[in-house]
């Protein structure tokens, strides 16, 4: 039987399709089957057009309406569930949103779900990290409907455009629920820097920075020199140096930029879980035995208060 695959995309705050959809396309290719892309949101106008030009897909499904604007798990399940059994595989990115709704759908459909896959061995066998990524498990999912969240850093985005725009099927927007409502959003402004998920370079700071002032004053100029996103360890977020959405690690975001610079970060396994597949890792730490040096391609031992300004100044030249 031919597989039928549904990829559930995400929109950025600007209403455009997030690039994670291209990683989902790469993961889906090894599943061998027809691929549909579902776009959802309060206003999907531009994202639908972008999706129509994705390479190798059959059609775009469009779920648009006010009830979907907040991305509540309950609403997403109401949107996807009526279609679910038309598919053999449904994939979405392992983001805060994906992790929120997909397990809910799995229980409604009474299927076991596979979280955070980093590899596809066959259409029913997947690799996923466990124990903060220190171990990989190869898992067989015998369900007729396979639900998976995908660690997008493990799948390079599929490039290219489709020849002709594919057709769009509009889905009925589910009715709003009283059960849960979003009453406030506190978006963290990125201050003109690239987003952590897409940046080619990430400058990440830890407890060693010592204060929120130091974090910004030392890392900000370095990030700007490199056109980098800022990241942080859990300790730095807990201490208020950085916003929660830039925490890198087991329970924060997973990133894999070309260059990751860890500054004043010891390298706890929970932090490594979020950055150890970066292409090149640089560590700056005063403790020569800090575990971060075990994963760093280049280590610089010394006081970050001296080394970071020196590095920024050297880059400026």
């Amino acid at each position: 039987m031919e597989n039928r695959i549904l990829l559930v995309a995400e929109l950025g705050p600007d209403g455009h399709l997030k690039s994670s959809i291209r990683s989902l396309l790469t993961a889906a290719k090894s599943l061998k089957g027809d691929i549909d892309v579902l776009v959802w949101g309060g206003d999907t106008t531009s994202a639908v057009v972008e999706a129509q030009h994705l390479p190798g897909i059959r059609q775009v499904l469009n779920g648009s309406g006010p009830a979907l604007a907040d991305g509540l798990a309950e609403m997403l399940c109401a949107l996807v569930r009526p279609l679910a059994r038309q598919y053999t595989h449904i994939l979405t990115a392992a983001t805060a949103i994906g992790k929120n709704w997909m397990p809910r759908l799995a229980a409604l459909e009474d299927v076991a779900m596979v979280s955070d896959i980093v590899g596809v061995e066959s259409p029913d066998t997947f690799i996923r990290p466990i124990y903060a990524g220190s171990i990989w498990a190869t898992v067989c999912c015998p369900e007729l409907l396979k639900l998976m969240t995908v660690r997008t850093t493990a799948f390079p985005g599929l490039e290219g455009e489709g020849m002709d725009p594919v057709t769009v099927e509009n889905l009925p927007c589910p009715a709003a629920l009283l059960q849960s409502t979003r009453i406030a959003v506190h978006a963290h402004a990125q201050e003109g820097r690239p987003s952590l998920e897409n940046a080619r370079v990430v400058v990440s700071g830890g407890r060693g920075l010592g204060s929120a002032q130091h974090y910004e004053a030392l890392l900000g100029p370095l990030a700007d020199e490199l056109n980098a996103a800022l990241g942080a360890s859990r300790a730095a977020v807990d201490l208020g140096y950085a916003s929660n959405d830039v925490q890198v690690g087991q329970t924060g975001k997973v990133v894999a930029p070309d260059l990751y610079i860890a500054i004043g970060i010891s390298g706890a396994i929970q932090h490594l879980a979020g950055m150890q597949t970066s292409r090149v890792i640089v560590a700056i730490n005063k403790d020569p035995d800090a575990p971060i040096f075990a994963v760093a391609d280049y280590g610089l031992v010394g006081d970050l208060n001296i080394l970071v300004p020196e590095l920024t100044a050297a880059l400026r030249k």
């Binding site: 805060a96 759908l105 171990i135 015998p142 849960s180």
Partner: protein, 249 residues
């Protein structure tokens, strides 16, 4: 209002997990086990709601073999009023645990279930959401703040872009993130007292839940290791190597 807090006993977060010599699973024998850190945060949140007069009872629940009673003893020592053990030697996957929790919720009728957002062993991040689905209750995952009001709860949750506040009609399911609170430590007298408290025992059969695992782990292995790096002696050398060797700047 009663609050139910499911807890899991896992390999302590300070211990590096290793693959068994025959590759069949993760080596746990003789290693330190602790309550899943997110479940400790969930328990702390529930206890604080009780201390603030917004809850009347905190019941902790754990599913698994006889060893999970250790985790329940810790929960009792930290301030849970009751402990429930769903006894099973089966490998319990998130969907099975959610079904067991669902059955217990139908008996206990809590107004709120507070779970950890993920267990740090399988890192699945599924059980709370699955439970909310089975109960058809609202869900708020990744909670950083919980405010209980009349018939509702407001939850500030951590998202990929910052935070957002959800208002849920009670009953509801909440899963906890790291910054919700800092859990207390159990005092020695409370640990001693907890040893003597009863643990209520249930079984999947009694609860009418099938718990056979659906997913099959074929093997576990260490992920590919990074080749060893080098220490450089100056900022100038670092930059030169990033430019000429790694070609990333």
């Amino acid at each position: 209002m009663k609050i139910l807090v499911p807890v899991k006993r896992v390999l302590d977060y300070n211990i590096k997990a290793r693959v068994k010599a025959d590759g069949s699973g993760v080596e746990l024998a003789g290693l330190k086990m602790s309550l899943n850190p997110f479940d400790e945060i969930a328990l702390e949140a529930a206890i604080r709601l009780k201390e603030a007069g917004q809850a009347t009872e905190v019941a902790a629940l754990s599913c698994g073999d006889a060893m999970v009673q250790e985790g329940l003893r810790t929960a009792l020592a930290l301030g849970a009023d009751r402990a429930l053990w769903v006894s099973s030697t089966e490998e319990l996957q998130p969907l099975s645990v959610a079904k067991l929790l669902h059955a217990v919720v139908l008996r206990e009728i809590p107004g709120l279930v507070i779970c950890g957002k993920q267990a740090i062993d399988d890192d699945a991040n599924q059980t709370g959401q699955m439970l909310a689905a089975l109960l058809n209750w609202g869900q708020a995952t990744n909670a950083a703040e919980i405010q209980v009001g009349e018939g509702r709860v407001d939850v500030v949750r951590e998202t990929d872009g910052g935070t957002e506040t959800l208002r849920l009609i009670l009953p509801a399911v909440i899963t906890t993130d790291l910054r919700l609170n800092e859990p207390r430590y159990a005092t020695l007298p409370n640990i001693m007292k907890a040893r003597k408290k009863p643990i209520e025992i249930l079984t999947p059969e009694e609860l009418g839940v099938m718990v056979e695992p659906r997913l099959k782990t074929l093997r576990v292995q260490e992920p590919p290791q990074r080749p060893a790096g080098v220490k450089v002696d100056s900022v100038a050398t670092l930059l030169a190597r990033l430019k000429n060797e790694a070609k990333v700047i």
